[in-house]
Subunit: 208 residues, 2 copies
DNA sequence: CCTACCGATCGGTAGG
DNA sequence: CCTACCGATCGGTAGG
């Protein structure tokens, strides 16, 4: 083993560490990832694992960014080039629910879990998470506004309420499936989303 | 200070410990409550604080039950004697959103946070939490069924979807308020709930 | 990226 | 309900 590695190897190692940290954090929380167990799980020394980041806070921030990038690629990127407004809202809901149904991390959606872990804990992780979520929230609000202007949502629509509703429904998929074994959680979320968007099709009850 | 206390005093102490533990857990998670900091916060010794429960797991289970009882009293009890079906669903949503808007614990709704902390962590806390939530879920489903039978919801209604949607919307109030300062989170949740229940009143936008 | 180490805190217990 | 203590693990660092 051992010795210093090349820049490329170091970058690969860094990604491996972040992937492992994100997996652990999705199950035990971002605060629950300890340097010791992370290193053991990677077959590395503690100094080797944490050295790429400096300290635990920086590791947490890097892990959050890693998971946020996965989330962006899986949920937002597929809908990026869809027509703004209702078409894009529906595309986002579709990719979001596919992701919620088959999450990239063993403990389920990382972002949803982190938003409950750090909502009442001030600090850099809270702030970084809020910044990510504000961007996504603004995107939902913008598309809802466009949908109103296009006449796809009633003029009386509260676009903030729409965004809130979609976020709430998406986040609940993991806990409801994992807590009381509701295998249809993503389907319920999807149907409720369509309901909030006025696309009430109670019969179209299959995913994908 | 010190010395053993009477049964009544011990019971009071026990409640004080649980109240303090629930406050801490609502902010830092149930796993984040350490015996040492709990004791310090209570001006007690570690042995004094944990002695009432035996070990940390038993403390966690007792804290969960404590918070669940607060939740039951605040959310379910006010609606207990309301007519089953849609009237009771609306009453539950009302008390639920009042509670979400003014939660009993500094970190917000304890139950919602715990359901994200323990959804992917097997063990006694997961199981106890799931048991509580299953009871509440069954209550929502039962009232939704009654509402369908009474004609207050369409015959095609998926009652599981209704329960899922209400749970999702209620749980999201705390994180959205605390992460990006949405003071209208409870209001958005309430309006979305009414939407899911077919009581779409986009103009009635004031709480309580 | 490793070994070897630091002080602090963890959950828990013996004994009073 | 306290003091005093246990081994284990925490985050972090020096030095190579």
């Amino acid at each position: 083993m051992a010795g210093r590695r090349s820049v490329v190897e170091a970058s690969n190692t860094r990604q491996s560490i972040l992937s492992c940290a994100a997996d652990m954090a999705s199950v035990e929380g971002l605060e629950g990832v300890t340097v010791g167990r992370l290193a053991t799980s990677l077959n590395m020394s503690k100094a080797g694992a944490i050295g790429h980041f400096g300290n635990k806070l920086e590791l947490q921030l890097a892990t959050l960014d890693f998971a946020a990038e996965v989330f962006r690629k899986e949920v937002w990127q597929p809908a990026e080039h869809v027509t703004a407004g209702m078409p894009r809202l529906l595309a986002i809901c579709a990719s979001w629910m596919e992701y919620a149904d088959r999450p990239a991390f063993p403990g389920g959606c990382f972002i949803a879990a982190a938003s409950f872990e750090f909502d009442s804990r001030p600090g850099p992780v809270h702030d970084a998470l809020a910044a990510h979520m504000r961007r996504w929230h603004a995107q939902l609000v913008a598309d809802a506004k466009t949908a109103v202007e296009a006449g796809d949502l009633p003029a009386s629509t509260d676009v903030e309420q729409i965004a809130f509703g979609l976020e709430a429904l998406a986040a609940r998929v993991t806990p409801n499936r994992q807590l009381y074994g509701d295998e249809r959680a993503a389907e319920h979320a999807r149907d409720s989303m369509l309901n909030l968007l006025g696309q009430r099709t109670r019969s179209s009850s299959s995913l994908a």
